[in-house]
């Protein structure tokens, strides 16, 4: 689907609404032009949310890849978590959580600091600290209980 930004997208929604209502009544070339513009507006409005999601996802993946590559030789959790790309992901806030959970499920990874920082929760039992597989399972269970894992899988 084309996602180019039509000129009319910047007009107030009430104007766009008016255009939508007049198009079926018109038959002139001017009306056809309007109809095309309205179709562009409609297509853009319909695609905008998913575009935004895709942009967020692409940004997340770029940051995650950069973080993984730059920190793969490091043992210090402090250094790993303070990497600028990791901090940028934390800065994405709640919207990052489904993407982190998806990445954790597929690739594992040291996402626990970010998850705890964003979610302000910690499902990992004290006795499981540092046990990467147990921590992963604890966070995936948490995500399932919150309905996040279903969103990711769906």
């Amino acid at each position: 689907m084309s996602t180019k930004h039509p000129t009319l997208v910047r007009v107030p929604s009430i104007v766009a609404g008016t255009l939508l209502s007049v198009v079926p009544l018109a038959a002139s070339s001017h009306a056809i032009q309007l109809e095309n513009q309205v179709a562009d507006v409609r297509a853009y409005l319909e695609s905008a949310p998913s575009n935004k999601r895709n942009r967020r996802r692409q940004r997340f993946l770029a940051l995650a890849n950069k973080w993984r590559e730059d920190t793969k030789w490091l043992s210090s959790t402090n250094e790993i978590a303070m990497h600028p790309a990791y901090q940028a992901i934390i800065g994405m806030g709640q919207e990052a959580i489904p993407m982190i959970i998806e990445d954790l499920r597929k690739n594992s990874g040291h996402w626990y600091w970010a998850l705890k920082a964003i979610a302000q929760e910690d499902p990992v039992h004290r006795s499981e600290r540092g046990s990467i597989n147990c921590m992963k399972q604890a966070w995936l269970r948490w995500a399932e209980q919150k309905g996040i894992l279903n969103d990711v899988v769906g």
Partner: protein, 153 residues
């Protein structure tokens, strides 16, 4: 990946490593890190992170300082300051620090006098001690030896 390719990849972080002073001894494994490996644990990631996500002995201060790392290894029986020589029945660990004296890494001496390290989430390697000094891990700050028949503190 060939050994040469692998070493080339490492070159940016460990410029002193080469085929003569290093070899990989394990596959990639993200479950444990260098501190765990030095402590003979391949099941956990050890670090005194402030968000308390990783394992750290409760008896030791949870802080990223050289003293805390010394105390942690002392807790495991490495109580005597030493050097990098091979001494029979004296297992040794080396703690690396960055220019700010913040711990970055630990290595453990093998019975043949070489050292073994886990490189972050990557492989274990056998290496000469100073071959991993550089931008990633800084320098060796202290070497501790475990004295025979000594009980852990």
């Amino acid at each position: 990946m060939s050994s040469a390719d692998w070493l080339q990849q490492l070159g940016r972080f460990f410029p002193a490593l080469n085929e003569q002073n290093c070899q990989t001894t394990s596959p990639v494994d993200e479950r444990y890190n260098c501190i765990a490996w030095a402590a003979d644990d391949t099941e956990k990631w050890w670090w005194p992170d402030p968000l308390e996500q990783q394992y750290w002995p409760q008896e030791v201060p949870r802080e990223s300082s050289l003293l805390a790392f010394q105390l942690m290894f002392q807790h495991l029986g490495y109580s005597s300051q030493s050097d990098d020589s091979l001494e029979p029945n004296k297992p040794k660990v080396a703690i690396f620090v960055d220019p700010n004296q913040v711990p970055t890494h630990a290595a453990r001496q093998l019975p043949n006098g070489n050292w073994t390290s886990k490189l972050g989430r990557q492989n274990d390697i056998e290496h000469e001690l100073v071959a991993i000094e550089g931008p990633a891990y800084g320098k060796v700050a202290i070497i501790l030896a475990k004295v025979s028949n000594q009980n852990a503190l």
